[in-house]
Symmetry: C2
Subunit: 189 residues, 2 copies
Amino acid sequence: MARWQPDAPGRLAAAALDLFEERGYENTTVIEIAERAGLTKSTFFRYFPDKREVLFGGGTVAGLVVEGIASAPPTTGPLDAAADALDALGRTFFTADRREFSGRRQAVLDANPELREREALKRIDITAAMVEALTLRGAPSLTARAVAALAALAWEVAYDQWIEAGNSEGFGPLARRALADVLAAGAVR
Amino acid sequence: MARWQPDAPGRLAAAALDLFEERGYENTTVIEIAERAGLTKSTFFRYFPDKREVLFGGGTVAGLVVEGIASAPPTTGPLDAAADALDALGRTFFTADRREFSGRRQAVLDANPELREREALKRIDITAAMVEALTLRGAPSLTARAVAALAALAWEVAYDQWIEAGNSEGFGPLARRALADVLAAGAVR
DNA sequence: AGGGTCCATGAGACCAAGTCCCATCACCGG
DNA sequence: CCGGTGATGGGACTTGGTCTCATGGACCCT
């Protein structure tokens, strides 16, 4: 048996998700996660800064959104740039093959306060990244913040729908529609 | 010397804020906080579920907002109900005498990831509470969510302005104006 | 005044998360 | 066959957080 099986972080994440589903997050120790992945505590903390982060893998999402916003044509308004970014996210990250995993992961997140807390932080950070990307396109500060907040809400709505079983639609279209709906709802007066 | 000086939680919070300012959150141990307050680790964890929570006192804020939304006249629309709630918050919680403390506290929060994370969770929870309160008034789900998101943003904007030195305006007026500005900014199209 | 009861606090054992330092061993090139 | 490099293991150590039991003030009641 080779000592170095490939993709240690991936094995750790998979083992963690399994164990969290079986016994719950709180009743699972980092040592147990590492053991199931055929590794040790040392190696776990070499790849993840803490226990929670094992379910938040790359953190590439923020980068993708920023990239999506930045790569929209310069004449595109902030709202459409955000919509394009969400759409791009559906093409590059929230792909069909990731749907089942995302659903399992989300169920675990929802069940634990500590994990919800980390999720909340990620959301704030991503929103801040969107604000910065929009500001870089010339959007006024408040506009950027309002658009980012609404886009984050649309993201959340679309993500929930995407995860639901029986819904075969892709994340991109769901997000576009969610953003339009959120805008309509936010324009009440 | 009386063994039981009054307001143990308050003394702990004050000691914690002092120490966090002096040495930073990470370099301060719970035992040190307790010692400065003339107490022990045991007592600390009797009043606060964890080290972070010492800066998030009552958690009464969510209750106040919910109450503010619920107590608006039934014919008031969701947006105005939210505005009223923010205004009420300015009268009952973000009062002038709390401004200096809030500023110090916020500086500490901003300086530490762990504390920012807890803050993010609080924000999410408060937003969820607003959504529920608005839904109870009969607002459609998406409307409630959009309004809550924008109100939370306005809250953040107003809070930053309120904390800034030299700004003698109350939180309530600042929040009302911020909400109007955010709405105008979010209506871009 | 004296005794008993309640309740906030103290004391300390215990576990798991997270940090750190160094040893080890597979792989790869020479 | 040998030495270097880089991923992994091992284990000591600190701190957050839980739990259980002991302690001793304050207050009441007679």
